[in-house]
């Protein structure tokens, strides 16, 4: 009888705020990064096998899709890094005040975008 009672709505109705957004993104970017690192490893191995395979990668990375993947991974790494620093501070017991948590959360979101742009511009200037 009791178990047939309905379950009240949860994630469907609950409001998002900065802390919860950063937390879920931290987990998602974490999973993406696992694939990202594997991808980079394959890339490095591929480079070893000579000029022709380097050319193939070069063409791929200069395509729109390739650029999207590179920028996406850069953002995902930037986000994970900044968010990890935030979590590290929290593990020390700092930053639990609601206002502070919202500020550090905003810094992570905006900072990850800024960092992505910086890395992209810096990387471009190297080529």
């Amino acid at each position: 009888m009791k178990n047939s009672n309905p379950l009240s709505p949860h994630i469907q109705i609950y409001n998002w705020h900065i802390s919860s957004l950063v937390s879920i993104s931290h987990r998602i970017t974490g999973i993406i990064n696992i694939f990202g690192i594997t991808f980079v490893c394959f890339w490095v191995v591929y480079l070893l096998s000579g000029a022709s395979s380097y050319e193939a990668i070069n063409i791929f990375f200069n395509s729109f899709f390739g650029k999207f993947i590179i920028l996406g991974l850069t953002w995902s790494f930037s986000f994970q890094m900044l968010s990890e620093i935030r979590h590290l501070l929290m593990d020390y017991g700092y930053g639990f005040d609601l206002k502070v948590a919202n500020i550090t959360g905003s810094i992570v979101i905006l900072g990850s975008i800024a960092l992505t742009c910086l890395i992209y511009i810096f990387g471009r200037s190297l080529i």
């Binding site: 009791k2 379950l7 009240s8 593990d91």
Partner: protein, 257 residues
């Protein structure tokens, strides 16, 4: 397990529409989650048009007005109406809180009222909190002190007493626990912010002599470490307490003791 969708019997349907009969000019639409255990139907959202000219300021006043003047079948818990008892905890405008302390003019647009999230609904806005109470019992929320045989008060320094500030104020309304996604997916095993805050309250009490045992009991992959500092709990607490910080302190105590 993470389950995003509601089970089939919990899918919410469109309900009745109660049109205003007072002819008032300042109307607001209030959408309320309804479920009647006697019908066997799915839950529904009923919409009420409420005359705001003659309605006091809080969401609970709004619910009382609906129950008294429009639809007496509406069920919800309430008692003190001063933010002390924690009975009227519910989800208003996508956030948990106490209906008696939440002003309805803080809500923009239609007012959406749901029971506390991810609970078995008993009726309308009343959720079943028995799991949470069992978990609360499991942390043995009472003072354990066998060495003090004094007939007098068990004294505490001002400093030790101040460690309980921000913890003793908790009224166990369950706003925090039911706002926590970790508690939604692992509610059977993870203790949740409310109970962990209480656990910390007894662990940090200088008069309690069971600290080691209490810490040992709570130090569990599922009981404690399902907290991922999402901070929905602190965001929801109607008393302005910080369960997320209490949990972090617990984790810190476990590695530094």
């Amino acid at each position: 397990m993470v389950q995003i969708n509601l089970p089939q019997n919990s899918k919410v349907q469109k309900g009745k529409y109660y049109k205003d009969k007072t002819g008032s000019k300042s109307l607001r639409k209030v959408n309320i989650y309804r479920w009647d255990p006697s019908t066997g139907e799915n839950p529904r959202i009923d919409t009420y048009e409420v005359d705001m000219d003659n309605c006091p300021s809080k969401v609970l006043d709004l619910l009382n007005k609906i129950k008294n003047e429009i639809d007496p079948s509406l069920a919800y818990r309430r008692s003190c109406s001063h933010g002390v008892c924690g009975s009227c905890a519910m989800n208003m405008d996508g956030k948990n809180g106490l209906a008696c302390t939440k002003p309805h003019d803080e809500i923009k647009g239609d007012i959406n009222i749901y029971p506390l999230p991810h609970l078995k609904v008993l009726k309308d806005l009343i959720g079943d909190l028995s799991t949470l109470y069992k978990q609360y019992e499991s942390i043995e929320p009472w003072l354990k002190n066998t060495s003090n045989k004094n007939e007098k008060e068990n004294l505490q320094t001002k400093e030790d007493r101040s460690k309980l500030d921000g913890l003793y104020e908790c009224i166990m309304c369950a706003c925090c626990s039911t706002s926590c996604p970790s508690y939604w997916w692992n509610g059977e095993k993870y203790l949740g912010p409310a109970v962990l805050l209480q656990a910390y309250r007894w662990i940090i009490d200088s008069r309690d002599e069971d600290r080691e045992d209490r810490l040992k009991k709570v130090a569990d992959e599922l009981k404690l470490y399902r907290c991922h500092t999402i901070m929905n709990c602190t965001n929801a607490c109607p008393k302005g307490l910080n369960p997320a910080k209490a949990i972090a302190e617990l984790k810190k105590m476990l590695v530094t003791r």
